[in-house]
Symmetry: none
Subunit: 260 residues, 2 copies
């Protein structure tokens, strides 16, 4: 039974960075990734705000560099989904779909998934006019019309942020009032670039290679409206692993979701 | 009177990164650096653990990329030393040697200075056989005997680096074991040019115009040994700005001193 010094769960930028540091510290380390190395970052076409890349870098390219770097220091990577964690005699037991692993310490760097709306066109245009993070991508929507979906703090914050870039921001919310903090609501109402569409849902997204049209439906009148847009946003995220994360912080940190 | 949204004090990796993010967030930002852009990082010949550079990157090269990136987003950089901070009517006033600046917010990213040992001869021979940076000065110590003071990552890294130039490198450490990363310790132990002097301190440095003699004391046996050396190094640091930093954390982080 091999007991590692450290097992890292998740092969995104956070996990690979942990791997680089742990291998340089000569810890016996294993990184476990259930899908492909990279995580959400590989869906990002251009990252402009990772320091050290003046011309920007694609998510795929950046993650390849990180993986190469980690492997230079000898990091081993296994493909497996961890379903359960337990601790026996001070040793962590990680139960996967096929194998069981043991380690003295664990770093969970399994990232987040954005919660999808599940509407037509959403998968197709992800990264092509649809994004899930204003801080990351707002600059790409300069002088354009943008739809933000939601009525909570995140929707209002990101909607407000987008007004620095976009010509017009529509906040589409399925209820008849916002549920964001009052201070945010006040700012939203005071911003002439924002138009609120209450009792509305985003019905589908259309286009050829990129988003060209969005269809919004009023759920009370059943009326549909179409317009030419190039972006929409869903602010919610859920953990990317199925294991217990009750003690984890959301990794909206330098190496987490918000690198872009 | 121009009031900035944000003034960043310090043009190292932390300050430039803050500049990239603030400019992308459309904040009216000014970065102020008192010396050259980069700070201590420019003294680092090879950075192996900054994610995204599998072959390593020199400090100068990395900082040039970051500066270029920040300037692409329009960051303005002023050369000035800030001597005093005050706050009037919720606006920060920054008093420099020549100019005064005003800002709604401030990020202090002013880095660190090497901490002196405070021993006899240290001030007198700084730059005359005493230096604080191997990458900068190692070439001056070709075919000589060198003392490195400390037992952490920096002491080991710089000791190892010096073996490329010096005939012999003594690492003088006041404790009975190193606290550097294991990978560095292994390299140090394997290097025949390095001799470790545990439980020892550098007592004083002597000479006329240049360092001629160093006295090392064993703190357990109280025994003193003198030898002819021409260099010593202290790995500790203190804040690089004279302004109030009581609420700052030491920036021994990714973007601080410990990038190596």
């Amino acid at each position: 039974m091999r007991i590692y010094d450290l097992i890292i769960i998740g092969g995104g930028p956070a996990g690979l960075t942990a791997g680089i540091y742990s291998m340089r510290a000569r810890l016996d380390t294993l990184l476990i990734e259930k899908m492909v190395i990279g995580g959400q970052i590989i869906t990002t076409e251009k990252i402009e705000n990772y320091p050290g890349f003046p011309d920007g870098v694609s998510g795929v390219s950046l993650i390849q560099k990180m993986e190469e770097q980690a492997k230079i220091f000898g990091l081993n990577i296994e493909s497996e989904e961890i379903k359960q964690l337990s601790k026996e005699n001070n040793i962590f037991k990680l139960t996967g779909n096929q194998n069981t692993f043991f380690s003295k310490t664990i770093i969970i760097a399994s990232g987040n998934y954005p919660v999808k709306l599940g509407i037509q066109g959403e998968e197709k245009f992800r990264g092509r006019g649809i994004s899930y993070c204003a801080t990351c991508d707002a600059l790409f929507y300069k002088n354009k019309k943008v739809i933000v979906v939601g009525g909570g703090d995140a929707a209002c914050e990101e909607g407000l942020y987008l007004t620095k870039f976009a010509d017009k921001v529509y906040i589409v919310h399925r209820r008849d009032k916002l549920r964001a903090a009052k201070v945010l609501q006040e700012r939203v109402f005071a911003n002439s670039k924002i138009e609120l569409l209450f009792d509305c849902v985003l019905e589908r997204i259309e286009g050829t290679d990129f988003v060209e049209k969005a269809v919004i439906k009023n759920i009370k009148t059943k009326e549909e409206k179409a317009g030419n847009f190039c972006r929409r946003r869903c602010s919610k995220e859920k953990p990317a692993s199925g294991i217990d994360r009750s003690r984890r912080r959301s990794n909206r940190s330098l190496y987490g979701r918000k690198i872009y």
